[in-house]
Symmetry: C2
Subunit: 356 residues, 2 copies
């Protein structure tokens, strides 16, 4: 605490990203990164963009990338907003669409950045408890509110809501903005983007960090009615005119062009997820059905915090949240087949030792 901090800053409880310990090399299954490298075409485009043009500002309107995403999703450039990762974009959306005094609704178990944004923006919020099985209770999103946000699939549970459920939320909240945070949609879900034409209150947010293997490049995007995109633009242009550098713009465009690589790698992750779930269930784990590139798992006898610590000791990082309702679960990112093999071996040893 410092006397120089604003009252706002004093009151903040910042988000804490997954740990990145440097004491040794870990198998990193704690931040939902993709085990496969980005498309070689992306890397080539970045190398090409490392040229003397870097002395010039990037495009503040990012037209080429927006055009490319628009084509990919059957929209127009005016329906696309791009940002420095979906995190930044979600923060902009809190400022753009939510007002103090009218609570925003989100699930009690969800991405832990949402309450952080709300505090920063002085937005009230109301938690909607997930059902016993961690599914999102669609019907509970119809009470008086100033906006709605949830991930689909949800994080850290991996649970997916069908399009019909989202449509029902959109219909019941026609006067407020509903943000569907689809960071993990490409690993088995169906995107709500198909409803952008019909629902002017729908904002769909995606990222290149997960399914496009580009967490290190910081590119996220939002899709919605042109009015919503203009709202995001107004806030962005009150903070930073150029949030995406020339290199990120060049790489991101190429990521959308290499469709085949994207299909191949996401399919591999999906297949590894299936096999991992099977193996975990065989050794007694409960696994929440996931459509994401991570799984949320619990063991009937060995506590999650014990498993987390012992896995870390064996060089495998997973994510543990010390929070009500989920403090006996681990979130495990889906790595390569060989990563998951190591994870399962380490886990089996821990559980075997416990039994002995």
């Amino acid at each position: 605490m410092s006397k120089y901090w604003s009252k706002l800053t004093q009151s903040l409880e910042p988000y804490i990203p997954g740990e990145q310990p440097k004491d040794k090399t870990y198998i990193k299954l704690n931040t939902n990164e993709n085990p496969y490298p980005p498309s070689p075409k992306v890397l080539e485009a970045i190398k090409q963009a490392a040229n003397e043009q870097l002395r010039l500002y990037p495009s503040p309107t990012c037209d080429d990338l927006r055009e490319c995403i628009a084509q990919y999703h059957g929209l127009t450039k005016e329906q696309i907003f791009v940002g420095n990762g979906s995190d930044e974009l979600l923060a902009l959306a809190f400022w753009a669409f939510f007002d103090p005094g009218r609570p925003v609704l989100f699930p009690d178990i969800t991405y832990s950045f949402y309450p952080v944004y709300a505090n920063l923006c002085h937005i009230d919020y109301k938690l909607v408890p997930l059902a016993e099985d961690f599914s999102i209770p669609i019907d509970h999103f119809s009470c008086e509110n100033g906006g709605i946000i949830f991930p689909n699939p949800n994080a850290p549970t991996g649970k997916y809501i069908e399009i019909a459920g989202i449509e029902s939320i959109l219909q019941k909240n026609a006067e407020q903005v509903v943000i569907v945070d689809e960071a993990y949609i490409d690993f088995g879900g169906e995107s709500a983007v198909q409803m952008v034409h019909r629902y002017p209150n729908l904002l769909v947010v995606q990222t290149l960090s997960k399914s496009r293997s580009l967490a290190g490049l910081r590119v996220g995007f939002a899709m919605g009615n042109q009015n919503l995109i203009e709202g995001l633009d107004r806030v962005k242009n009150s903070i930073n005119s150029y949030t995406l550098d020339r290199i990120a713009l060049a790489g991101a465009v190429e990521a959308f062009k290499d469709e085949e690589y994207f299909r191949d790698t996401t399919l591999k992750v999906i297949n590894t997820r299936k096999e991992t779930v099977n193996s975990l269930e065989k050794i007694g784990f409960t696994v929440i059905p996931s459509q994401a590139n991570f799984i949320f798992v619990s063991h009937p006898f060995v506590s999650a915090v014990d498993l987390y610590q012992q896995l870390k000791g064996k060089g495998v990082l997973v994510r543990y949240f010390n929070k009500p309702r989920i403090d006996n679960f681990l979130r495990v990112s889906i790595g390569s087949d060989s990563d998951m093999q190591c994870f399962l071996e380490a886990l089996t040893e821990i559980i075997y030792k416990w039994k002995v």
Copy 2:
């Protein structure tokens, strides 16, 4: 305007960056970019960083880059904050250090992003009028205030305050944060960073966009007491944990290592500035003494708006601000010798035509 926008968004008046018309190729002297490319070592580092590690998140704490800047400026890593360009960083500073209800002071003629940040953060502000000769009146920064920000050299005038003047402001405002925005300091000024050890209320902000020829990479940094840096961190980590991508981090580190290239290119800009000023004075222009990579100029007979439009017609872009006190001035970035040759030829033609 949209019913879905928050009240905040409805009230914003976003910043408008310099135009980037695409109808033809212009000599761009309107956004203070460096005419020289980045160091070849920076480009090489970026190519090296275009590798499979891009699938992983960047370091949220950016330790390597902060360490490198700290060494360069004789500080510790804990006294350094890095961000996505100095614009983002200045926005974070408004949230971090300024409170509603206590006006922040800045000059009436200055970087036009300051009032935009203030509006976004609901911070009141009070304009301190520049003297007749556009110098910053040091003594007027001692009235009741909630913080102070100004560029040194000032933009768009290019006028520089000596260190003693800044020290006097720091001393008279020991209870508030004083932000010195040094985007242009490397083109002839002396940095206030030498006072960071003595003034816990001093935040010095710099950027790689101008003197390091990296406007396209989006890297800015702040230097100050560890407490101030922690304040910035709290706000940043309430918006986006990773604002700098892996490529920008790699390139920025190399920019600080190639000291010789930096000295050479800044010196070239300084020399071109001197020659340009001489030539302009010969054809009757008033030029405000500048320590920046731009000059602020006015002609006694031909209006600035006319000059701006006619220069644009001849393929030379400069910046015109339609604002009180400065609406008869043009801000002209210092390009290469050949850019300035073209600019001067175009200008001479316009003025000659006017005389005829």
